[in-house]
């Protein structure tokens, strides 16, 4: 059962990820990215990360992608035009990508050959309660620093995007 769901959502995620890169229109890319994020949320759920799966749907698929689509609509971004492009990139692009991927897989299979299988329900420590306990005890300082970061980001976004006052 696990393998069926893993393969289903892994294939959906990969297809949507390829679609993000291959589509010419930004709106199509954005909607494909939502597909990647939702299927990743399901995979997180299978790995026992309930809270993160929910946060993925709410924060990424909800808030961040709405922001992206809002900006695409606001700027009226059309299909991108391809011109120029270096010969080196055209010849070496796909082989370099495959070499990069092969290197990653080689590292994974060399250093982590005997990892335990994932079974749904094996790990139940990813609920909101466990995350909250950890977040507000061991990781309290990073949490507070992150809130300052968010504040800076809000102020920065407003300063950058506001209309110039003449």
């Amino acid at each position: 059962m696990e393998i069926f769901f893993f393969l289903l959502f892994a294939i959906v995620a990969l297809a949507c990820a390829l679609n993000v890169v291959l589509q010419k229109h930004p709106i199509s890319s954005a909607l494909s990215l939502v597909g990647v994020m939702v299927s990743l949320a399901v995979l997180y759920l299978m790995l026992g990360a309930e809270f993160i799966a929910m946060a993925q749907v709410v924060v990424y698929a909800g808030a961040v992608m709405v922001l992206f689509i809002f900006v695409i609509m606001l700027l009226n971004a059309g299909a991108e035009t391809r011109k120029g492009g270096s010969i080196t990139a055209q010849v070496l692009g796909i082989p370099a990508l495959l070499a990069f991927f092969a290197a990653l897989v080689f590292l994974i299979t060399t250093y982590y050959p005997g990892l335990s299988p994932v079974k749904f329900g094996d790990f139940t420590g990813g609920g909101a309660r466990e995350i909250g306990m950890k977040l507000f005890s061991s990781y309290l300082l990073p949490f507070e620093v992150t809130s300052v970061l968010i504040l800076i980001a809000i102020v920065g976004a407003i300063v950058l995007a506001r209309k110039e006052l003449d």
Binding site: I72, S116, Y139, G156
Partner: protein, 108 residues
């Protein structure tokens, strides 16, 4: 790898390989695409791939620390998206283009 073992669950390394594939696709898109918004989306794709690695190792080690890291990555990605899209708005306002080849003042 025999089929009998697969019935009892998916190996964690499959998740890691999926994550590597997503990261490679995101990196390729980051280099290939010319629309600044799509380049930004490819960065989000790479961040998501890294998050999947964190969660997979968290499951392997039966520890919640990877979840906390993923949480922080999400928060920073949201902040980054807000600031980055504001920068894109400003670039578009000043240059009237979204093509990153035409925004190359620092290069020349």
């Amino acid at each position: 790898m025999d089929l009998n073992a697969l019935v009892h669950g998916v190996p964690v390394s499959w998740y890691l390989v999926l994550s590597a594939m997503l990261f490679a696709i995101g990196a390729a898109g980051f280099v290939l695409r010319r629309n600044i918004i799509t380049v930004f989306m490819c960065i989000e794709l790479m961040l998501n791939a890294v998050n999947l690695t964190f969660i997979a190792f968290s499951h392997e080690l039966k520890s919640v620390h990877g979840h906390i890291f993923t949480f922080f990555v999400m928060v920073v990605a949201a902040a980054e998206a807000a600031v980055g899209l504001a920068i894109i708005l400003t670039v578009f306002k000043n240059r009237s283009t979204l093509n990153i080849d035409e925004v190359s003042t620092l290069k020349n």
